[in-house]
């Protein structure tokens, strides 16, 4: 590694540094996801639909889930039993989870009926499905972490199913400490990682286009060129319908 002593900031992309691991990683990351693709100003015109809002709403709900979960983790799992503030934060945590699943399932339905795995988007679809499944596990261990009769009842009901699967030897739903650690460390980590990869894959592969309309006659163009709309503009504005934009 060479050290630049003439300038206060590191200088990137010197030919002699090209073989370094950091340079290779940077080139690979910027090549796959350049800033204009990572944070684009425009999206294809077919993205101008409410159905695309629900993925973002899911992300927003997840952010509230994590933030309120951090507060609950700082104050401890029994805080919400003895404090009205704790009860409020716990309710925010619960209801943001409700919103998270509500919007995620609508996002899932929308993507399912669009067959959103088309066009080399299988990894995007699969990371979404797996993050949904892991989120269910995170929610279930949350119910086991309530420290009340409800969590006791749920754990004694769940143990038979878990034991029948053979996983009970290492995953004991009546072990509060283990379930709490799964709920506040392991499963949130996996969910956030999967969601992060999912969002990066959406940026990498783009939003799946609609199905092409059937051509009327042999030789007809299958679909018109896809227009784009900038954020904050009216897609049905004075320039005409979005399908007619160039």
């Amino acid at each position: 590694m060479s050290i630049d002593t003439e300038t206060p900031v590191a200088v990137a992309d010197r030919p002699e540094d090209a073989g370094q691991l950091s340079a290779k990683l940077r080139h690979a990351a910027v090549g796959a996801l350049p800033p204009e693709r990572l944070m684009p100003d425009r999206q294809p015109a077919y993205v101008a639909s409410w159905i695309y809002v629900f993925g973002v709403l899911t992300l927003a709900a997840l952010a509230v889930v994590i933030l309120t979960g951090v507060v609950l983790a700082v104050m401890g799992p029994s805080w919400w039993h003895v404090s009205t503030t704790g009860l409020f934060v716990n309710s925010l945590h619960l209801w943001s989870v409700e919103v998270f699943f509500f919007t995620m399932i609508i996002h899932l339905w929308g993507k399912f009926f669009m067959a959103a795995w088309r066009g080399r988007r299988r990894a995007t679809w699969i990371t979404g499905v797996v993050s949904f499944v892991v989120s269910v596990g995170a929610a279930f261990t949350g119910y086991l972490s309530q420290q009340n009769f409800d969590s006791q009842w749920i754990s004694t009901q769940a143990k038979d199913g878990i034991n029948a699967s053979g996983a009970g030897a290492i995953f004991n739903v009546t072990n509060f400490g283990q379930m709490l650690m799964w709920h506040i460390v392991l499963l949130p980590l996996v969910v956030v990682l999967l969601v992060g990869v999912h969002v990066l894959l959406v940026r990498l592969r783009g939003v799946v286009p609609p199905f092409a309309p059937p051509a009327d006659k042999p030789g007809d163009p299958v679909a018109a060129p896809v227009a784009t709309v900038a954020a904050g503009t009216d897609p049905t504005g004075p320039d005409g319908p979005i399908g007619e934009q160039s």
Binding site: I51, F54, T84, D234
Partner: protein, 63 residues
């Protein structure tokens, strides 16, 4: 343990009385709580609305 003032609970309390055992719908081997059934119905309504309701944004800006 702190208690919630009556005015606050009236303001932020539940719109429906939830202080009772849950109501369930039995249909053959299917058993589902009314709360979950309502939630699924709401999701279907929102899903259909998301597809059918036009998506309009504020005007302005180049294209």
């Amino acid at each position: 343990m702190h208690t919630v003032p009556a005015a606050t609970s009236r303001l932020f309390g539940s719109l429906v009385n939830l202080n009772h055992p849950g109501h369930y719908v039995h249909w053959g081997f299917i058993q589902i709580s009314v709360a979950n059934l309502v939630l699924i119905g709401l999701m279907i309504v929102v899903f259909v609305g998301a597809i059918l309701i036009p998506f309009r944004r504020h005007g302005g800006g180049g294209r």
